[in-house]
Symmetry: C2
Subunit: 87 residues, 2 copies
């Protein structure tokens, strides 16, 4: 997917809950920053197909095209994440 197009789409539809770079803005919404791209594509397609359901995502995903899914996954996966495990 095209991360640039995904960034624009995300700011329009996803950022309100997931944040523009994928740091969750809501206690129920998962972080998406640096998530595995294939996992994001599968999750979005499962919401579109109904294999997975969620009050919000079932509705939001209906409006997404295959290209949107690919671009959104590319964008959030492209966010670099570094990790510090607690000692």
């Amino acid at each position: 997917g095209d991360a640039k197009l995904g960034k624009a789409k995300a700011s329009a539809q996803c950022a309100v809950c997931h944040g523009p770079t994928g740091i969750s803005q809501l206690p129920e919404a998962p972080n998406l920053a640096g998530q595995v791209e294939m996992y994001l594509v599968k999750a979005l397609n499962d919401f579109r197909s109904g294999a997975r359901s969620n009050e919000m995502m079932t509705i939001v995903s209906k409006g997404l095209s295959d290209a949107d899914v690919a671009n959104l996954a590319a964008w959030y996966a492209s966010v670099e994440v570094s990790v510090q495990a607690p000692q």
Copy 2:
């Protein structure tokens, strides 16, 4: 949950796919590092109840107790994550 107990449980059962600190070791497995704790609890419970299904997680989650779920969620959520969005 108790992140220390969760860390031990994770290294036994989750790290093989999700990594000990939640950086995915497999192309299908999502990163869990620094994920939203409530989301992790919901995901694990949905796999346990069958509200959500996945070849691997449906099996793995069967063996988890409520305490395991709380501890695992606490552990992976406790991993600190910092984010750099691509310019």
